[in-house]
Structure formats: structure tokens, C-alpha cells
């Protein structure tokens, strides 16, 4: 198993780019702050959102059945998939039964999670991702590195080079406006030729049997208003009880995600387009198992805004690919090991536990507490590498005993200045790779206190 730190190394090695990434995401975080501050009831709104999600999860089966009933009444066909394989088979069958070979997609992390694109492509279906960032990474044969900003790991020159090769733009052209215009023309052809459109779901409404998709580009709207077949894929946790709950979530989503007051298009689907078909695929794929875990079920409240990534000091400096999972950052560091603890055991440790993620989360998920709890679980289950477990056992022994702690301190103060540098900064000291250890003090804090107290007492 290659851990987070090892995967982050190549990203961190390119210092100017890592710095740019850090700053670009921090800029988004600041925009988010300005929007949050413009709403006096922001904190109450977060609490309401968390409570609505908690309530919904407590009655999730009832709400899904209510959604299904109302969706049927609206002429929407509802499908259920236990796992990724069933999800992919359902989508493929809908397309294959109608002889569809050209599909346009708007952003859907669920379909990334299920690896839908390669599944369909292997069966002769051309799949075009239409969100600009997603199209860029698709043309590069890469996954997105961020759930809201899929191409944030790239510079405009990288994209200019890619578009020159793939779309025939001028050589060395890297102006974002020019490149976006080229992508618009290229993707408009794809929209016009598509036979079906696939979208994710931001919120599904039990009470009305409809759902909402949010985009700034309008790609979901193009893909669902031109071809007659629309397939929308959702994890079951996307459901909200009432239409008025959308007021709470839509006030939080775009402000938290990109620092906008709302997305350009917030589209409500309550039935197929004229003469068309509308399918909703409801997916479990491991989510119901998370629901059963008291400590971690709040991670199912996530509305995929990405705010925890933009604020995370680890994500900003290590990049999305270092997580090795489709949802990176603090929330991904929970969702990934919940899915596969042994493969993703390093992720709960990819955090400083500073709590910034919990502070910005629009649905108040206690992310850093859950990450800490997950670390304990991993250590208990021995899913953590032996070296780390041994180090922790030694630390636990030393920190729990005054004499051992004093002795260790004394030993370090005496030996460290006498050891050759190569020994101190050897491979066993990852902390020292990019940092200098502080100089060893001559005496311990305990000695200092004892000395001062002795000196003061006579007064």
C-alpha cells in the first residue's frame, strides 16, 4: 500500500506549482468567507442543514419510497442499484435498448465512483464529459483532482498544449478565454449530436418527486434539453424531505463551494422533456453500511461542495491525487477508508486535525473528530503499518510515565548535539526532510521551573 505522503511527494517536489495550488484554493476559501459573512444567520443555517440531514437519514427508506411514488406520478422511471456493477448495468441497458451510442455527461462524482465511463466505452458508447474541467481531465485520461474544480492541478499552459493537440487550437495559446471558447464550440457539436444526457443529482425531493441539478456552465441543461433521454444518477443520501428544504441547502451550497451567491443554473426536474424519457438511478454502493456506523454516519450528510478541500492545509499542499480516491480532502479521507480501510489506511492521518474543515462544512460534519476517531479504529484493528504502531506504543509508554519521560528528555538533550547530522536526518526522520529540528535546550522545562522556584522562594 502506497500512503498519502508517498503519493504527495511528486506534487510537493514542484514547489512553485504546489505554492500556486495552495494560493488558488485559499483564494476560493476567502471568497467563501465573504459570502458566508454576508448572511447573518449563516451559523443557524448550517445547524438547520445538519438537522435536516440527520432527520432525513433517520427515515431515509420512507423518504426514498415517497420520492419514488411521486416521481412515478411525474412520469419519471426510478431504478435501484445495490452497487457500482448494478448501476453501470442499468445505465448501459437504458442506452443499449434504445440503440444509443453517444452520451453527454455533466458532473457526477457517483459515476466516477462507479467507473461508469470505461464500462460504457468498452461497450461501444462514446461518453463525453461536458463540464470544462472534466472534459480537460477526460482528454488527459486522468480523474478529476478536486470534486468542484476538476482541473485545479493544471496550469493554463498545460491546457493550451492539450487543446492544441486534441482540438486544434493555436500552438502555445493559453488564454483562458480563448481556450474556453474553443471548448464551447467543440462541446456544442457533442451536445447537438448526443442521443442521451446523464447528470448527477444535487438534491432529490421526496415530497414532489423531482430533483435539482446545479451548474454554472449550463452543461447539464444543454445535455438534458436537447437529446430525448435523460438519466440522473444519485446516491440515496441526496434526498431531502420537502421542497422548502432546498431553500436551506441552496443558500449554503454555492457560497461554500465557490464563493458565489448561487450557481448560474439551478434546474428543477419534475418530469421528462416533451416526448422524452427521464430515468433516476438510486445507488447504495456501500452507503447503507456507513449509515449503520454511529461514529461515521454524519459523513453521509455531505453535499459535495468541496469547502473542506479548499481550506485544508494538507490538501492545498499535497493535491487531490495524493488521496488516490475520487473524493479527496478531509471528507474523502473518511469516505475512502469507510469503503476500504486497508487500501486507504493512511488517509485519516493526512490531516493536522486543525479543525478548519469542520468550521467551514455547510452541513456541520465534525470532520476532524471523525478523522481522529478513524485513526483510533485503524490502530485498534492493526490496519496501520507496524512501524507506526510500534512508534505509538513507545510514545504511549514514555508519555504515561514521569521517570521515562524525564530520562528520554535527558538522553535527547545530551545525545542530539553530539550525533552527526547524517544520523539525525536519516530516513527514519521524515519530519526532518523539509525542516530543521529546533536546537536542543540545555535544561528541561522541569529543571527550569525547579530552579526558578528555588530562587524565588527566599523572597
Amino acid at each position: 500500500m502506497i500512503g498519502h505522503a508517498e503519493k504527495a511527494a511528486p506534487f510537493a517536489a514542484n514547489e512553485p506549482r504546489a505554492h500556486w495550488h495552495d494560493q488558488a484554493l485559499w483564494f476560493v476559501r476567502l471568497k467563501r468567507d465573504r459570502q458566508a459573512e454576508s448572511i447573518p444567520e449563516w451559523e443557524a443555517l448550517r445547524e438547520a442543514a445538519a438537522a435536516i440531514k440527520a432527520h432525513t437519514l433517520s427515515r431515509i427508506a420512507d423518504y426514498l419510497e415517497e420520492f419514488e411514488r411521486n416521481a412515478h406520478a411525474n412520469g419519471i422511471q426510478v431504478h435501484w442499484a445495490r452497487d457500482a456493477a448494478e448501476h453501470n448495468a442499468i445505465v448501459h441497458r437504458i442506452l443499449a435498448d434504445r440503440g444509443i451510442t453517444r452520451l453527454v455527461k455533466s458532473k457526477s462524482m457517483l459515476t466516477e465512483e462507479c467507473h461508469l465511463n470505461p464500462y460504457l466505452e468498452a461497450r461501444g458508447i462514446e461518453v463525453t464529459d461536458t463540464d470544462l474541467g472534466e472534459r480537460i481531465v477526460q482528454l488527459r485520461h486522468e480523474p478529476p483532482s478536486h470534486i468542484v474544480l476538476p482541473a485545479i492541478h493544471l496550469k493554463k499552459e498545460d491546457i493550451g498544449e492539450l487543446f492544441h493537440k486534441e482540438l486544434g487550437t493555436a500552438k502555445d495559446a493559453s488564454d483562458p478565454k480563448y481556450l474556453t471558447e474553443a471548448a464551447r464550440a467543440h462541446l456544442r457539436q457533442k451536445f447537438m449530436a448526443a442521443q442521451a444526457g446523464l447528470t448527477g443529482v444535487n438534491f432529490a425531493i421526496a415530497e414532489t418527486g423531482g430533483f435539482v441539478v446545479c451548474t454554472n456552465e449550463g452543461n447539464a441543461d444543454m445535455g438534458t434539453s436537447l437529446p430525448p433521454v435523460h438519466i440522473a444518477c444519485m446516491g440515496f443520501e441526496k434526498i431531502v424531505p420537502r421542497a422548502k428544504d432546498l431553500g436551506v441547502f441552496l443558500r449554503l451550497l454555492a457560497r461554500s463551494a465557490t464563493g458565489q451567491p448561487v450557481t448560474t443554473y439551478t434546474t428543477h426536474f419534475h418530469g421528462p422533456m416533451r416526448g422524452g424519457e427521464l430515468h433516476v438511478v438510486i445507488v447504495d454502493n456501500g452507503r447503507s453500511a456507513i449509515l449503520g456506523q454511529e461514529t461515521f454516519r454524519r459523513s453521509l450528510s455531505c453535499i459535495r461542495c468541496g469547502a473542506c478541500m479548499n481550506t485544508c492545509p494538507v490538501f492545498r499542499r499535497s493535491g487531490g491525487y495524493s488521496y488516490g480516491y475520487i473524493v479527496p480532502g478531509p471528507i474523502g479521507s473518511l469516505l475512502a477508508p469507510l469503503r476500504d480501510p486497508s487500501q486507504f489506511a493512511s488517509l485519516p492521518f493526512a490531516s493536522s486535525l486543525c479543525g478548519s474543515c469542520s468550521d467551514v462544512c455547510p452541513v456541520s460534519i465534525d470532520l476532524h473528530h471523525e478523522l481522529y476517531a478513524f485513526r483510533q479504529k485503524l490502530v485498534e484493528n492493526k490496519t496501520v503499518p507496524l512501524f507506526k504502531r510500534m512508534a505509538m506504543a513507545v510514545m504511549t509508554y514514555v508519555l504515561a510515565r514521569t521517570w521515562a519521560y524525564s530520562l528520554a528528555g535527558r538522553l535527547m538533550r545530551w545525545t542530539m548535539p553530539r550525533l552527526p547530522r547524517a544520523l539525525v536526518y536519516g530516513p527514519w526522520n521524515p519530519w526532518g526532510r523539509q525542516r530543521e529540528l529546533p536546537p536542543m535546550p540545555r535544561q528541561s522545562f522541569r529543571d527550569l521551573m525547579k530552579h526558578d522556584l528555588n530562587n524565588e522562594e527566599p523572597k
Binding site: E41, A51, S58, R82, L246, V262, T267, H268, H270, R297
Partner: protein, 209 residues
């Protein structure tokens, strides 16, 4: 996969969700939300900040004159209007030269330069305009396929916040509806904002009254 497999998948998922559901917790109402001293002014500012162009007019009849000062409109070769009398619809002749009722297929909208659509109400806090599916005419794709868009909203139809917005929306079922807040945009290349991603390259709003 047969539909029988799907049906059993449905039952298995629901059973698993019931088995794993956490204890009951109450469903809260939204907190008291922001109201503005001058919602119309707040709306105008927000709509402008998201890249939209805000224009006040006294009546519907005044919109044509304002349109004539709007470059995307004066440069447009193909114009469609869904508001009788504005942009001089087919019956009223003038610049409007696309008969939406004659289109057989939404793909025929490609090449449309300018569309004029009625918004039901605006939201002051975020500059969003609610557009009901029925206001989009025979092909709902018009709002996103058109190169440029104009929305027309009555001045007395501005709500303060999204909670008020959902209090008044009555979904057409089956049907369609959306909030539009400014022109289509992206910042996917180096976080540089570019107006005109896939949908309208510009979005003007006429507030009437």
C-alpha cells in the same frame, strides 16, 4: 439484468436502510432569514455582480427601445421572444424572426442569437430569477441554447431570500423550472472567470414597473 433483479435490489436497499437507520430526530424549520431595506436595489447589485446586466423600465412597452441599445440584440440575426409585444413577436413583426411554434425539434434552436423570456420573480440575496417551464415555450432548451438571453421580471416580484422563494414556487408536475442567475460561466482554467461557457454569453434583466 432483468427488472426482477432490480426489484429485489430495491427491496434489499430499503431493508438495509431500515436496519441501519439512526434513531429518530426532528425535522427543523429554516431559521429566520435576512431581509433587505431595499430588495430591488439588493437584487440589482447582486445580479450585476454575477455578470448580468440590469435595466429598469417603466412598462413592457419601453423594453424595445432599451433592447435597441443592447449590442447582443442589435447584432443578433435570429431573435425569439416569448413575451407578446416584447422584441416585437412574430405577430408584431420587428426584429423577432424565429417562430418557436414551428420548430419540430429543440436542435433547430441552434443558431439562435437572442431570446427574450419571462421570469416569474427575482431573489434579492442571490440575483436568481425563477423561470417556470411553461414560460419557455414549446422547447425548454431555448434558455441555454441561445447565444444571448434577456429576462423580463415585474418590479413588484422581488423576494428577499430563498426561503421566501420556495414558499411561492408551485412546481408544474410533471414539469420543469429553474433559477437563472446571470450568464453562463466557468473558472475551470486556472480559476480565471470566463463568461459564456455553454449557455448564454450575456444575460440582461429588464425590471418592469
Amino acid at each position: 439484468m432483468s427488472s426482477r433483479v432490480e426489484a429485489s435490489g430495491r427491496d434489499a436497499i430499503l431493508a438495509s436502510l431500515r436496519r441501519n437507520a439512526p434513531p429518530a430526530s426532528p425535522l427543523p424549520e429554516a431559521p429566520a432569514a435576512i431581509v433587505y431595506d431595499d430588495p430591488e436595489k439588493q437584487f440589482a447589485e447582486t445580479f450585476t455582480s454575477v455578470g448580468g446586466r440590469f435595466v429598469c423600465v417603466a412598462s413592457l412597452a419601453d423594453i424595445d427601445a432599451k433592447l435597441e441599445k443592447l449590442e447582443p440584440y442589435t447584432q443578433a440575426r435570429k431573435v425569439a421572444s416569448l413575451i407578446p409585444g416584447v422584441g416585437r413577436t412574430i405577430a408584431g413583426v420587428g426584429r423577432t424572426n424565429v417562430d418557436l411554434a414551428a420548430l419540430k425539434d429543440p436542435h433547430e434552436l441552434e443558431g439562435l442569437d437572442f431570446a427574450i423570456i419571462a421570469g416569474e420573480f427575482g431573489v434579492a440575496e442571490n440575483g436568481a430569477v425563477w423561470v417556470a417551464g411553461s414560460a419557455l415555450g414549446p422547447q425548454r432548451a431555448i434558455f441555454v441554447v441561445t447565444q444571448h438571453l434577456a429576462l423580463v421580471v415585474p418590479a413588484d416580484q422581488i423576494v428577499h431570500n430563498m426561503h421566501q422563494a420556495y414558499d411561492r414556487i408551485r412546481f408544474e408536475r410533471p414539469g420543469f423550472g429553474l433559477f437563472i442567475s446571470g450568464p453562463s460561466k466557468t473558472a475551470d482554467i486556472e480559476q480565471a472567470l470566463v463568461i459564456g461557457a455553454h449557455g448564454a454569453r450575456s444575460c440582461a434583466l429588464f425590471l418592469v414597473g
